[in-house]
């Protein structure tokens, strides 16, 4: 049976795993690490370096180290949030065809999917080395609120890495799958996924082997990186005050402060105060200075409270969208590194009136879920004896299922994931309104057809503008693309019946069909969106 890899392609870190009959086996890096930084370096010496090794070039060659590519994948470079994110990076990004962001490293122009494909290829090679077999199939996870373009671009990255992407699944859903697979219970859970670059909340009902997402929402520009940046800004201001030198114009120094901030953040999750020095700060007069700092956990919590408030607000909204009260939720899963911050856990406990579940590993659970789904889709786990045997030997790479104890005897039923569409999809109608075809949080795959008509007499062509977003005004939503239906028989307005069919497939990608029942004219497209890969070289 072919091996299928489950990959958690993260903003800061990635993780990959395969499902085996006894549990999940993680793909290890060169130093036996389970978690691989999503960093790609193009060092002066040539070649491409990925993972922990690439991270080391951050200080020496910040312009040649590409990190946080996930923030730009499938994005329109002109979007305001993207422009904001661009101020936080040290490598060069320009506008390419179709308004997609292009990374420029030493005259090499690369699309964002190309950058991500280096990370995927690295994981694929590690897996092949570890398993001694070629690996071609994969399930890749994406944030639940990723748009159509971001999903298409992620699939493209998989294709460029030589992987057959069997499915894109949402990260919170993958975490829920790892948590609930084999438990055979009926419960309502909340997955709070606060990672390096993105934030997602999903409410799921786990009913035996059925995992139904009831509601999901989030923010793909909110994560641990933002917390680091907030702290780095404070350090920079401190540097300006004590050393009379503003480091904000100096990429190398800011990178150094960012790394310092990250270390301080992690330290403050374990300790009440952090005190020390960041040294090796090159001052313009040629000397090297050091920046002392002293920060208590309380101060740090105040600094990030705005971000944390936003996550809690979204969480409350999602619970309401699912038609539930916080008390109905029987378990809250903490996923993503940022949930290690004590104040985040405290706020979650206050919201749900119960301690969040921190028994699972927040960095690895998503890859674990992806591996289970990959095993299920490729058919390799149903033929086995069932996963999660308790007597599985613990090795560096192997971990039994999270709930090894509750595993049923004999082969397990294959899990069924019922995921949802993250935002409302509409088309433009007369007067500039957006008429909804598919609602936010509808189950996918889904198909819906509605009949529209012409607004003018003798109209022979209609343009169907598609958009995503919650507003009832077309212009306030994010445009997705246009469909043109031509050669319609001239008739008086209102007489023509045009069927528009929206279909969102299991990967969350939209397909639009439009047809005129009478003349038989029909058009079918996969939305071509701004920022999506075009297939042309940049």
């Amino acid at each position: 049976m072919a091996i299928a890899l489950g990959i958690d392609l993260g903003t800061t870190n990635s993780c990959a795993a395969v499902a085996t009959p006894t549990g999940v086996e993680f793909i290890l890096g060169q130093r036996a690490e389970r978690v691989h930084p999503s960093v790609v370096a193009f060092p002066q010496t040539g070649g491409v370096v990925v993972g922990a090794d690439a991270k080391r070039y951050r200080l020496t060659e910040p312009h040649h180290v590409i990190h946080s590519a996930k923030r730009f994948i499938g994005q329109n470079i002109r979007a305001p949030l993207v422009q904001l994110a661009l101020t936080g990076i040290r490598y060069k990004v320009t506008e390419g065809p179709n308004q997609q962001p292009i990374v420029v490293v030493r005259d090499r122009r690369m699309t964002m999917p190309e950058i991500s494909s280096h990370v995927l290829l690295y994981l694929k090679r590690c897996a092949e080395r570890q398993l001694g077999e070629s690996v071609n199939d994969a399930v890749i996870t994406v944030p639940a609120n990723f748009t159509d373009a971001q999903r298409q671009a992620t699939k493209e990255a998989g294709r460029l890495a030589g992987l057959n992407v069997m499915r894109l699944i949402n990260e919170p859903t993958a975490a829920a799958l790892a948590y609930g697979f084999g438990r055979n219970q009926d419960q309502l859970i909340c997955v709070f996924d606060f990672g390096g670059g993105t934030f997602d909340v999903s409410i799921l009902r786990i009913n035996g082997e059925v995992f139904e997402v009831l509601a999901s929402d989030g923010d793909y520009f909110l994560g641990g990186d933002d917390l680091d940046r907030a702290l780095a800004e404070v350090l920079a201001a401190e540097c300006h005050r004590t050393l009379h030198f503003d480091p904000r114009q100096h990429p190398v120094l800011m990178m150094k402060l960012m790394m310092g901030a990250e270390a301080i953040k992690c330290h403050l999750s374990e300790n009440d105060a952090a005190e020390g020095e960041i040294d090796g700060i090159d001052l313009p007069n040629g000397t090297t200075g050091s920046l002392p700092f002293a920060l208590t956990r309380k101060q740090f919590e105040e600094l990030i409270s705005g971000y944390v408030n936003r996550t809690i607000e979204v969480t409350k909204q999602v619970v309401a969208q699912a038609g539930l009260l916080p008390e109905d939720i029987s378990d809250v899963l903490c996923v993503g590194g940022s949930t290690r911050i004590p104040t985040v856990r405290q706020r979650l406990a206050d919201t749900f009136h119960r301690e969040p579940n921190i028994k699972i590993n927040p960095d690895e659970v998503v890859a674990q879920g992806a591996a289970i789904q990959a095993g299920s889709l490729s058919g390799s786990i149903i033929s086995g004896t069932g996963m999660g045997a308790r007597d599985a030997v613990m090795t560096e790479a192997h971990s039994p299922l999270i709930h090894g104890g509750a595993v049923a005897k004999g082969p397990l039923a294959r899990p069924v994931l019922l995921d949802v569409n993250p935002s409302t999809l509409s088309i433009q109608t007369a007067g500039g309104y957006a008429e909804r075809l598919l609602d936010k949080n509808s189950p996918i795959p889904i198909e819906r057809t509605r009949v529209f008509t012409t607004a003018r007499d003798n109209q022979t062509r209609v343009e169907i503008d598609c958009c995503r977003g919650e507003s009832r005004r077309y212009t306030e939503n994010e445009p997705l693309g246009q469909l043109l239906l031509e050669g319609l028989p001239p008739k008086s307005r209102g007489d023509l019946k045009i069927e528009v069919c929206f279909r969102v497939d299991a990967d969350g990608i939209l397909h639009v069909k439009a047809s005129d029942a009478e003349s038989g004219a029909r058009q079918e497209v996969r939305m071509q969106v701004f920022g999506a890969p075009t297939g042309e070289s940049p």
Partner: protein, 238 residues
């Protein structure tokens, strides 16, 4: 291979019924409770989800099963929206009827109740109306809280026992919101001012206040809808 035959029979049955009412596709009665609808959908997913048949079926057959499944998912969503609209309508009814504490997925609620909310406005404020659908055919789930259901913005302090006044009409939530929940407290201040302006007939003033509210809390779809409504009203007047 009975699983294969079963799923193909089911898919053909669904395709043949395509275009009929949602409950027909889900094979439940029209009066089914939310719980029954959810269970019916889970039952279908357990046996007929296309992912479970990747290996047993030919490509054409898989395509058939996928489109049948997608149609049923659409029907499920339609029924859910219809039901949450009913629940909201029932909840909007004055408290003489003991209000259901909560609604939605986990609570079975009287599915067939379609109670039209009282059209009056307790506070004497003119209701900010939800704009009626722009297209000829009525979309799903407008049953109970139809477009003529007024949102009662005066009722912002509605909590617990008193009937929740209004909802964000955009969200598929079955749980009602009052404006205090739909926006931040700062935005609520502007919203209240907008209400006062609207009461005086000063639509421009109301629009300005709502714009300020939107700027303070850009995530609130409630505010955006309210703003769009005021703008529409303004345009319709000379």
């Amino acid at each position: 291979m009975s699983a294969r035959t079963d799923v193909l029979l089911w898919a053909n049955r669904v395709i043949a019924r395509k275009g009929s009412a949602a409950h027909v596709l889900l094979e439940v009665t029209e009066q089914a409770t939310p719980q029954q609808v959810q269970d019916a959908f889970h039952k279908i997913a357990r046996t007929s989800h296309p992912d479970l048949h990747r290996h047993g079926l030919s490509n054409d057959e898989l395509e058939l099963v996928t489109s049948a499944y997608a149609a049923v998912a659409g029907a499920y969503q339609e029924m859910r929206m219809l039901q949450s609209a009913r629940v909201r309508a029932a909840l909007a009814k004055p408290p003489s009827d003991p209000p259901t504490p909560r609604s939605g997925a986990s609570t079975p609620t009287g599915g067939a109740r379609t109670v039209h909310p009282r059209a009056g406005t307790d506070s004497g404020l003119p209701p900010i109306r939800q704009r009626a659908g722009t297209n000829s055919d009525a979309p799903r789930g407008r049953a109970g809280t139809d477009s003529d259901a007024p949102m009662r913005p005066g009722n912002v302090h509605a909590t617990g026992s008193s009937p929740p006044g209004t909802f964000t009409p955009e969200e598929p939530a079955a749980k009602p919101h009052d404006p205090a929940h739909a926006m931040s407290s700062k935005a609520l201040l502007y919203y209240r001012k907008a209400e006062v302006c609207k009461k005086k007939g000063d639509l421009r003033g109301a629009m300005l206040q709502l714009k300020l509210a939107c700027a303070t809390d850009p995530t609130s779809s409630f505010l955006r809808t309210a703003l769009a409504d005021v703008e529409t009203e303004l345009r319709s007047k000379p």
